[in-house]
Amino acid sequence: MSLDVTAMLDAPFDVASWLLGLARGMAAGPMEQFEIVPIVPLTFGEGVDLSFTNASLWMLISFGTALLFFTWATRRAALVPGKAQGSAEVVYEFISKMVRDTMGEEGRRFFPFVFTLFIFVFLSNFLGLLPSLPGSPAAAHSFTPTSHIIVTFTLAVLSVGLVLVYGLYKHGFGFLKLFAPHGVPLWLLPLITPIEIISFLSRPISLAVRLFANMLAGHVVLKVFAGFVAVLLASGPLLMGIAILPLIGIVGVFILEFLVAFLQAFVFAILTCIYLQDALHPAH
């Protein structure tokens, strides 16, 4: 954002120029919200940049929110749960059922991983929807870590990597049966096996891109609509009235994004479960 905060604070408050400034800021580009802004620069050796950035901050906020919520929810661990504990138990049962339905009782060992995945992705998606304070510095703008392909890809690699590592650990070379499905005639194998291998390799990509693209698209649409509102408001009394239309659009898309935030976390978690099922039983 190219807003000059100190100038705004000094100048007498003028709605028109404020809106104009806001409009300029927003119209500058719907991609600016994805900008990575270093907060605490940390560089190791040659070019290894581990700076604490706004992305790191919002990952930390997701972690902190989860920590606070679960601390609060389980502070008493009562037999008759309160509201917070009840909602935490709903999430627990939800993921627990998902794990059990896809993998059965053996899947129990993956439950903490799937649970963490769901919570982390959901909170990252969801907290990124918080509106930023107008005029605040870019580093303090709300940010969605899962709108970055590298983040979703890392998570996907974690999931598929776990499938690979656990599958090989548990079944050894038997895990390779995954690429030769049971009951396929021998002469078809040269065709099927490459397809299965490609399908397996595309899993982390599909997992990563699905989540990333959903978050990216949602935020871009929100920002574009918001830009319309600001531009229309700032362009004189004639067009001000029309600004209500993109505003309604924002409200609609925002509600949709709530759903998407949950849905994508759910999809990520359940696909991980389905892939982990392969690690448990490669000969499907």
Partner: protein, 198 residues
């Protein structure tokens, strides 16, 4: 389902690839921040750090705590169900015992009533018999007395008839008939009367 997801994912991938294929003029001007590889190390590092930390606290602290309390509740509910079933069984037992006692009492009452009725009936029958016997005895005595009285009366009448006959005969003939003749005549006359009456 999986095939559908896969095809959707691949189209999304193409979409992503289209983004990637766009020329990136520079980091500051309009480039997609997601494709700025210089931020990747930091993002991966902090992601693994926060994700790992979240995994640690969830798997070590919160999930066991939540799972524990859910398990405990489930056990408690199962226990309560068991206990309720036990109480129900006990209540049914008590009910059965009560009903049995009630039936026994009823049966006993009925048998006592029947016994009492029988004994009373027997007593009544005995008393009736006794009464009948007493009455019979009285009737017999009365009948005997009546018979005796009738005999005496008959004798008295016979005596009177005998004397009257003797008087009449003696006054008619002037000589007193012997007692045996009078008796004979009277007996004949009486038999004659009896025969005629019959």
């Amino acid at each position: 389902m999986r095939a559908l997801l896969a095809s959707g994912a691949s189209s999304l991938f193409l979409f992503g690839a289209a983004f990637a294929a766009e020329p990136v003029p520079g980091e500051q001007e309009g480039g997609l921040p997601q494709l700025d590889a210089s931020t990747y190390a930091s993002q991966i590092f902090w992601l693994l750090l926060t994700f790992g930390a979240l995994y640690f606290v969830l798997s070590r602290i919160f999930l066991p705590r939540l799972g524990g309390v859910i398990e405990e509740r489930r056990n408690r509910i199962a226990d309560d169900y068991d206990q309720a079933a036990e109480f129900k069984r006990q209540a049914e037992e008590a009910q059965a015992g009560y009903e049995k006692a009630l039936a026994d009492a009823k049966a006993r009452a009925a048998s006592i009533a029947a016994e009492t009725r029988a004994s009373i009936d027997a007593e009544i029958a005995e008393m009736e018999e006794e009464n009948d016997a007493r009455l019979d005895a009285k009737i017999h005595a009365a009948e005997a007395r009546i018979a005796e009285t009738a005999e005496r009366a008959r004798d008295a009448v016979f005596q009177a008839a005998r004397e009257t006959t003797r008087e009449i005969v003696s006054s008619l003939t002037g000589e007193a008939p012997s007692e045996a003749d009078v008796d004979d005549a009277l007996t004949t006359a009486r038999e004659d009367i009896h025969a005629r009456a019959a």
